[in-house]
């Protein structure tokens, strides 16, 4: 039996500590199937839907330019970093939002560590 998605997201939150803002596992339809947030003002549904749209558009762009499959999108604003990754066969996305003070290398390392487990924990 696979691990529990929500537990994994909490572990990610714990690993990132104060830098963690939110994280969601998002379907290609833009709906979150599991989420964890440290920010009450975080508009989870809206961000999830928007990120799915970005990943879909990115995949289309990459396909048209012959750059292969999308592996990651990293969006940086003045106070937030949002990393989106396609999971498994690309039918699901993992979004991790952190404060801009977070170390990008650390964020990516944490995602590397949990990526396969997240995919394995998605109910089939």
């Amino acid at each position: 039996m696979g691990e529990d998605l929500q537990t994994l997201l909490r572990d990610v939150r714990s690993d990132l500590g104060e830098d963690f803002v939110a994280s969601d596992i998002i379907g290609a339809d833009g709906m979150s199937i599991a989420g964890e947030s440290a920010d009450d003002g975080y508009a989870a549904e809206l961000v999830a839907a928007s990120m799915a749209m970005i990943m879909k558009t990115a995949a289309k762009l990459s396909g048209n330019l012959g750059l292969g499959k999308i592996s990651e999108n990293l969006l940086t604003t003045n106070d937030r970093i949002a990393v989106s990754r396609a999971l498994g066969d690309g039918s699901m996305y993992w979004l991790l939002v952190a404060k801009s003070e977070a170390t990008l290398g650390m964020l990516r390392a944490v995602m590397d560590q949990y990526e396969l487990r997240m995919w394995g924990a998605i109910p089939t």
């Binding site: 809206l46 990459s62 750059l67 592996s71 969006l75 604003t77």
Partner: protein, 286 residues
């Protein structure tokens, strides 16, 4: 024999090796770029850089005005990619360099001086640049590149920081490892400066990237009330970095080969050059 290209230009190096009828390999380095030139019995027979080889590479190296070289004698070329006589090769390289330079790029030292002025301006903030120093501030075209920005004609006559966006784009391109493409444009599709390491359908690509950037920009507003800084898309084969200049919807796009690029330095360089480009565009628009 070792040295710096600032002290011995590629043309001089070639002349020296060919007149001495050398068989040798010269390794050239500029930033992260590494290239090789091979001589056989006093002729240039092979030039290679990053998977490319032949005369085109030689002409690119001819333009290097900084970096290091190391000549090792009696090294045979792995292949023959250049058959043109060395004097003819140098003449053609000079002709192409002149053609690419237009009126303003002939003096590489002048460009470096202008770039230094820009850097000093960034520090000093208010330091003025004389009309003489700013001579040469205008859009120019290079092979495979287009340049058109609003206000360029007016800008040439102003006492402003004298580095054109195209020069900066070329400079950035030469420093990004595994470089494929650098482009400065606006979300509304105006003001295009371009440098590509391979043939690209630029208009089609920019249109598609524009749509993507608009979407990312919109989404970033939902994520946080502050503004988007950059977006990095990683695919199986490439990094596609978009950095907003915070000026009139301009953004800088840099694409590089994922196998060759250093992600950290690519992001850093894009930040440095985005800042320089913003300053240049601000001065041009008055």
């Amino acid at each position: 024999m070792k040295g710096r290209l600032q002290d011995m230009a590629v043309a001089d190096l070639v002349q020296h090796a060919c007149q001495d009828r050398k068989t040798a390999r010269v390794e050239l380095k500029k930033g992260w770029l590494k290239a090789e030139l091979f001589f056989k019995n006093g002729n240039v027979v092979h030039a290679a850089m990053g998977g490319k080889a032949g005369e085109a590479v030689f002409y690119e190296l001819f333009d290097w005005d900084a970096g290091t070289f190391e000549l090792k004698a009696d090294v045979d070329p792995p292949e023959i990619s250049i058959t043109r006589n060395w004097t003819s090769l140098l003449l053609e390289a000079a002709r192409l360099a002149d053609e690419a330079s237009g009126r303003f790029r002939a003096d590489a030292a002048g460009y470096r001086a202008r770039r230094d002025l820009l850097d000093r301006n960034a520090v000093a903030g208010t330091e003025s640049v004389s009309r003489q120093e700013s001579a040469g501030f205008e859009v120019f075209g290079v092979a495979g590149a287009t340049a058109a920005a609003p206000g360029s004609a007016e800008s040439a006559s102003k006492d402003l920081v004298a580095v054109s966006p195209q020069e900066l784009i070329d400079d950035l391109s030469s420093q990004v490892e595994g470089h494929q493409l650098t482009c400065l444009t606006q979300m509304r599709g105006e003001g295009l400066y371009w440098s590509a390491s391979s043939k690209v359908e630029q208009e089609e690509m920019v249109e598609q990237v524009n749509q993507f950037v608009k979407l990312v920009n919109t989404v970033s507003q939902r994520l946080s009330p502050t503004s988007l800084e950059d977006n990095l898309l990683s695919t199986e084969t490439a990094y596609l970095l978009v950095r907003l200049l915070g000026l009139d919807s301009y953004y800088l796009l840099v694409a590089a080969d994922k196998q060759k690029a250093n992600l950290g330095s690519m992001r850093h360089l894009s930040g440095v050059f985005a800042d320089r480009l913003r300053k240049t565009l601000e001065t041009r628009s008055g």
